[in-house]
């Protein structure tokens, strides 16, 4: 199983839809400060079920919706989809590609979808169980997280090991 593509629309600074293909072993994302690189990392963390607005650098979940700029009005919703290769049927679904999506509207309510049909977060978590994916802390290392790991006290470092157990 691997990550084929991520599609982002209306999430943070992505007012317009953006599609990123990841069909090589190592892909780099580069760009000036403030251009939206970490917003992609947040999008991946969010679609996999992140529940804390603080972990997405916001104060409430609706903060992830494009809030407008000097020239553009705010978006009314945000939507992110991850396209996973499933040709080896690692995921318990009979399709070669599995699309996991999350949408949120201004009221902060989220919808989850698997292959475009609505489901609960619980279904997404069950689908991804035992794959190592999901909202755990070390497959998506956000900016500054490495410094946080180094500076953490022994009792906090323990949490990393509990998640891996």
């Amino acid at each position: 199983m691997f990550l084929k593509k991520i599609k982002i629309k209306g999430f943070k600074s992505f007012a317009k839809t953006i599609n990123l293909q990841f069909d090589t072993p190592i892909t780099a994302i580069v760009g000036p400060n403030g251009s939206g690189k970490s917003n992609i990392v947040d999008a991946a963390r969010w679609v996999l079920g992140e529940q804390s607005a603080k972990n997405l650098r916001g104060t409430e979940m609706a903060d992830v919706i494009f809030s407008g700029s000097e020239k553009l009005p705010p978006s009314s919703s945000a939507e992110v989809s991850l396209y996973l290769d499933n040709s080896e049927r690692v995921l318990d679904i009979e399709t070669d590609e599995v699309k996991i999506s999350r949408e949120v509207t201004e009221d902060g309510q989220s919808d989850y979808l698997i292959n475009d049909s609505k489901c609960r977060l619980k279904d997404v978590n069950e689908l991804l169980m035992d794959t190592g994916l999901g909202n755990n802390s070390y497959s998506i290392v956000s900016q500054g997280k490495i410094t946080q790991i180094i500076n953490s006290k022994p009792e906090n470092l323990r949490e990393l090991f509990e998640e891996a157990a």
Binding site: M1, F2, L3, K12, S13, F14, A15, K16, I18, L20, F22, D23, T24, P25, I26, T27, A28, I29, V30, G31, G34, S35, G36, K37, S38, N39, I40, V41, A44, F66, G68, S69, E70, K71, L72, L84, T131, G132, L133, Y138, S139, I140, V141, Q143, K145, I146, T147, I149, I150, K153, P154, E155, N156, L157, R158, L160, F161, E162, A164, A165
Partner: protein, 155 residues
Amino acid sequence: MMDKFKTTFYEIKEQFEDVFVELFNGGRAELSLVDETALLDTGVEIIAQPPGKKLKKLTLLSGGERALTAIALVFALLRVNPSPFYILDEIDAPLDDVNVVRFSNFLKEYTDFAQFVVVTHRKHMMTAVNNIYGLTMTDKGTTELVSLNLKEQIQ
């Protein structure tokens, strides 16, 4: 539950001590439980010894040495409980150029186990990857893709 924690801890400890030596090209490191009798809530401590130096607590190492030690821990966790892909956001920022190159070579060894997406500002990392996406912030405050393959431009 506690058994699971203990076995996982010892698996990660073993991998961490290996990965550290690989990343630092020598030296040694140790993971230890602060209190082995209280598995339910004991903390975990890292002591590390870069090549040629004395064994020290993590706080006495330099910024780059600590970052490289934390990276070794993330990769030890990867070996014990692998995920299909990893997204790493500027974890190379504290490293000097030699360590950026060493880390990028290290990443390449793991592409059999997992897929990587790295956010970076470092040229030595950009020249090591297969594909690069460039982003830019437009004058409307929105993110757009600049070009699909900057790799030709970096060379």
